[in-house]
């Protein structure tokens, strides 16, 4: 039983297919219209059937007024961290603090290498991500007048000018499944953003939280500083053998509330390209979950 006490945020995970670009934009607009908090897009820069996620995030941010936006998650190996940091700060400034930085270490190395990226072993990729976070935070720290110097194994910055500073403290949320990445979250990140079907079980969620909490404590951080988010939408057998997110709406709300109260998840991102599902999620499920959780917390 863990509840980190974060406010609840509800979002959507949209496929950035480029066959009909305006439909993707309309889906994001539907997220805003449904009263949800967050629109996210996966990022596979080697995939020619998708729109470039950074371009899409910027374009959609200009077309919306209230929702936050994030990659889910951005591909670090093809997005140099210094450029990414300035881009993220720029988008946060333009959007009035509506950007969050979902980030991943990369996984499809053949495709990354085909695009000119550097192939790393999984462990190296985690270390590279750790260095990248230092670069990103260093660039954002415009209050520090000293030029940024980072002499990493994977990323080196020699005296770069810092800034711009983002409009709000952008959360760095990592897509992570294995202990090394989870520990990195505990040490340096602001959020955990896995996908429920990839986790496979609620036990994996509990185990991951424990690894993150322990690493955070070792680093002298409060585990509550780390938001837990979750991509949902797939079906899988839960502990009791029931199927999650396959039943009637009240059941959905109860299951999500349980994830919030027992597993500390405070961000629920629905994978759907159906505007009707997005509307139901925002207009019916999210308010019901908020009510259930508020009642329990009180």
């Amino acid at each position: 039983m863990t509840d980190y006490g974060h406010d609840l945020r509800f979002g959507s995970f949209i496929t950035p297919t480029n066959a009909d670009p305006q439909r993707v934009v309309q889906l994001a607009e539907a997220v805003e219209a449904a009263g949800l908090d967050l629109a996210t897009f996966q990022d596979h820069p080697y995939q020619p059937g998708f729109l470039d996620t950074w371009t899409l995030l910027s374009y959609v941010a200009a077309r919306t007024r209230r929702i936050s936006l994030s990659g889910n998650v951005l591909n670090l190996p093809l997005r140099p961290p210094a450029v990414l940091a300035r881009s993220a700060a720029s988008l946060d400034l333009l959007s009035g603090g509506r950007f969050e930085l979902g980030l991943g270490a990369g996984g499809f190395w053949d495709a990354i290498e085909a695009m000119g990226g550097r192939r790393l072993a999984p462990g190296q990729a985690v270390d590279a991500l750790g260095e990248a976070i230092d670069v990103i935070r260093g660039i954002w720290d415009a209050g520090d007048r000293t030029p940024l110097r980072i002499d990493g194994t994977y990323y080196r910055v020699h005296g770069a000018k810092r800034g711009p500073a983002p409009a709000h403290p952008i959360g760095i949320w990592l897509g992570a499944y294995k202990p090394r990445m989870l520990r990195l979250i505990g040490r340096k990140a602001d959020g955990w953003l896995p996908t429920l079907p990839y986790l496979g079980s609620l036990q994996a969620l509990a185990d991951g939280n424990a690894v993150i909490d322990e690493a955070a404590a070792e680093a002298g951080r409060d585990p509550r500083a780390i938001r837990r988010l979750l991509n949902i939408g797939g079906e899988f057998p839960s502990r009791s053998g029931e199927r999650l997110f396959a039943g009637p709406l009240p059941q959905w709300s109860e299951q999500i509330a349980e994830l919030a109260l027992e597993h500390g998840v405070s961000g629920f991102i629905l994978a759907s390209d159906d505007p009707r599902a997005v509307a139901v999620y925002g207009e019916e499920v999210a308010p019901a979950v908020r009510e259930l959780v508020a009642k329990e917390r009180a």
Binding site: Y46, G49, A62, M115
Partner: protein
């Protein structure tokens, strides 16, 4: 003097300030408001991110071109930048231009062009800065994204780029002229026309009209960007721009300078004979697509038909349609007119000819809520019309596919899921605006050009180009929509029962039946799609029950849906049809036992893979047969068959043809003489010929309804 006026259309724009992104966005919006052509954002290594800012500006503007200037593709992967630029071009409707920093620009150009190309082979590249190991190409941008390179690389600009960009305050006049000469020399050395390279000048201070005119006329600069710090500076620049445009236009006219953009040698090499590409009217040149253009694959073909036109013109206004038609008429090549590109009889593409694509004339506007009068452009698609009308509680009966264009359907007939209740699509037209063969624009309705108005409704493709339709929509709420799957082994009995059930049903039922032949040991199968114009479940069940009983029911699905749920959305992406559709069409009043047997034999002949019976009748028959050029008002069913072999389909169809008393031209692709007389009975065809002689005496519109000499003889007899 290194160079002179190259005749590029002049463009003026904003070089956005880089420090404060919000200020840049406000100036960009103002630039669009002022009618400037370009907003450029400069990539500075230490500032806010230029690509983010440009993408944001794209989201806040509608028409202005978006240029990323000085893009450094050493600092970020060129492969990702290529996809990003193509993505922004797709999102923004083809407004992106890319200016590269000189350092590493040669390799960056290779990577950008390689990834934008429509080519299935992967890209491998081993350069100093860029290394690709089998990257998949794509996406293709919405238009050929021009690539400029910065001032220090005039040789590269001349050899490989589409533009050369120079900051006027950073080079003196001599260096600038030397650069211009180097661009020209490098272009010629590479076998290019120097006019392929646009000259872009960025000004830091207030602009002087005399100076800009001189730069345009004497040095060939055609794009002027002002690094404006505030709104007043930009407003002043817009005034200067207007003056310079006017002066240069006068000077060009006097000097006989041809105005237009020059396409690259590679694009020109793929041009088709018989088309005067250099004479494309200025209003259309920018959006015209020719075989060498990146956009060509997206516009060459239709839903059911492959094409290789020599030129696709894409007008946005009635005036541009007039220009396009005047231009096309000067050519002796095939001419197609396209709205949605779903035509069966209407080709709307060709081999080596000209296509006028009306896709951009796609406005949908309510004219009068009280009379439900709406005006719709021919390029709108029915899958866009339905959701636009639904909030008003209205619908216009259309076809059965959301991708079908308004223009094609509304000039042919329009047999959809509301036909028995509300008639044909053409029965809802109250007026049309038509561009005639002689270039005049007329409004036709019951009182003005009544003969033209009569002919447009059923044979419009032969008479002119309709540039807008005024429809009276119907009040339509939620409907029941069913899909029933039935065993059609006893094809004749099933068909006969289908006929009697539909004819006996109240008008709120409209049904389409599709027969598929037996395959691999499976029996013939019938799929009935039926709409019941009622939200009442009991009524819906009452109407559907008899249909479910016309044969052994295998599966059923019924939903309650507003009309857009029946029409569906247009398919995303461009049409990729190939070959030619092979179809036949027939209209019958009743499905008699004899006809049902003949139709069963036809289905089992193996000549067809799709044999459909749409119900007409009802409200369709309320209209007099001489009221429109669609005359077969007594028919209760419209049959259409698709086959793979022209010969086999015709042979099998001809055996049952005696049972039909007409056809629907829109679904007919047999071009043997006599077919036209089946679609248009003699009285209709005579009148149509008269109207045609008056409005299109030179037979400019010959892509669809074409009277052959043998048919003329039949008519005369």
């Amino acid at each position: 003097m290194g160079t002179t006026d190259h005749g590029h259309p002049l463009r003026f724009g904003l070089a956005a300030p880089t420090g404060d992104p919000q200020a840049a966005v406000e100036l960009a919006r103002l630039a669009e408001e002022l009618g400037l052509d370009v907003v450029a954002v400069r990539d500075e290594p230490d500032g806010p991110d230029a690509w983010t800012l440009l993408s944001w500006i794209a989201g806040e503007t509608n028409g202005v071109r978006l240029a990323l200037d000085g893009l450094d593709l050493v600092r970020r992967p060129a492969s990702v930048a290529a996809r990003a630029a193509a993505s922004l071009d797709l999102l923004s409707g083809g407004r992106v231009e890319v200016g590269l920093a000189p350092d590493g620009a040669d390799e960056a150009i290779d990577i950008l062009r390689a990834l934008w190309a429509s080519d299935p082979t992967p890209v491998t590249y081993a350069g100093t800065h860029q290394r690709l190991a089998g990257a998949t190409r794509g996406p293709a941008p919405a238009h050929d994204i021009p690539i400029w390179v910065g001032g220090a690389a005039p040789d590269l600009a001349g050899r490989a780029a589409d533009g050369w960009s120079v900051a006027l305050d950073r080079v003196d006049a001599d260096a600038r002229r030397a650069g211009l000469a180097a661009v020209d020399a490098a272009a010629r050395a590479a076998g290019r026309d120097p006019r392929e390279v646009r000259r872009v000048a960025t000004l830091s201070g207030p602009a002087d009209a005399d100076e800009l005119e001189r730069l345009a006329r004497d040095e060939g600069f055609a794009t002027f960007l002002l690094a404006a710090a505030d709104a007043d500076a930009l407003r002043a620049f817009a005034d200067v721009a207007a003056a310079v445009r006017a002066r240069v236009a006068v000077a060009r006219a006097a000097a006989g300078v041809r105005v237009g953009s020059v396409r690259s040698a590679a694009v020109r090499a793929r041009r088709r004979p018989g088309i005067d590409y250099d004479a494309i009217p200025a209003s259309l040149a920018e959006r015209a697509v020719e075989p060498g253009d990146a956009r060509y694959d997206a516009v060459r073909s239709n839903y059911l038909r492959g094409g290789s036109p020599g030129l696709v013109l894409r007008p946005r206004t009635t005036a541009e349609v007039v220009d396009a038609l005047a231009y096309a008429r000067r050519h002796d090549v095939p001419l197609g007119v396209r709205s949605g590109g779903h035509g069966v009889s209407g080709r709307s593409t060709n081999d080596g000819g000209i296509v006028i694509d009306l896709g951009a004339l796609n406005r949908i506007e309510v004219l009068d809520p009280a009379t439900r009068r709406v005006r719709i452009g021919p390029g709108a698609r029915w899958g866009e019309v339905a959701p636009a009308l639904q909030p008003h509680g209205w619908a216009i009966t259309s076809g059965d596919h959301g991708g079908v264009g308004v223009g094609g359907l509304a000039t042919a007939g329009g047999i959809g899921f509301l036909s028995r209740e509300h008639g044909l699509t053409i029965d809802h037209i109250r007026a049309v605006e038509v561009v005639l063969a002689d270039g005049s624009v007329v409004r036709a309705d019951e009182h003005h050009h009544p003969d033209l108005f009569w002919g447009v409704r059923g044979a419009g493709s032969a008479l002119g180009i309709v540039t807008s339709f005024e429809f009276e929509a119907d009040e339509v709420g939620e409907l029941g929509f069913a899909q029933l799957t039935l065993d059609a082994s006893d094809t004749a009995t099933l068909l006969e029962r289908y006929g009697s059930v539909v004819e006996a049903a109240p008008r709120d039922l409209t049904a389409f039946l599709v027969l598929g032949p037996p395959r691999r040991g499976m029996p013939a199968v019938a799929t009935v799609m039926a709409a019941v114009d009622s939200p009442d479940p009991d009524t819906i069940v009452e109407r559907l029950q008899p249909l479910a009983g016309i044969g052994p029911l295998l599966a059923q699905q019924v939903v309650l849906t507003p009309y857009p749920g029946i029409v569906g959305s247009p398919d995303p992406g461009p049409h990729q049809g190939q070959g030619e559709p092979v179809t036949r069409s027939g209209l019958v009043d009743h499905i008699t036992p004899e006809f049902a047997r003949a139709a069963a034999d036809f289905l089992h002949s193996g000549a067809t893979y799709f044999f459909q019976f749409r119900s007409v009748g009802g409200a369709v028959a309320d209209v007099d047969e001489d009221a429109t050029a669609y005359a077969h008002r007594s028919a209760n069913f419209s049959a259409v068959a698709f086959g793979l072999s022209r010969q086999r389909l015709d042979a099998a169809w001809d055996r049952m043809a005696g049972h039909f008393n007409g056809s629907y031209w829109s679904f007919e692709t047999d071009r043997r003489p006599g077919r036209l007389l089946e679609a248009y009975p003699a009285a209709t065809l005579r009148r149509l010929c008269e109207v045609k002689r008056r409005y299109d005496p030179d037979n400019v519109f010959r892509d669809n309804v074409v009277l052959q000499p043998a048919e003329e003889a039949l008519l005369a007899s």
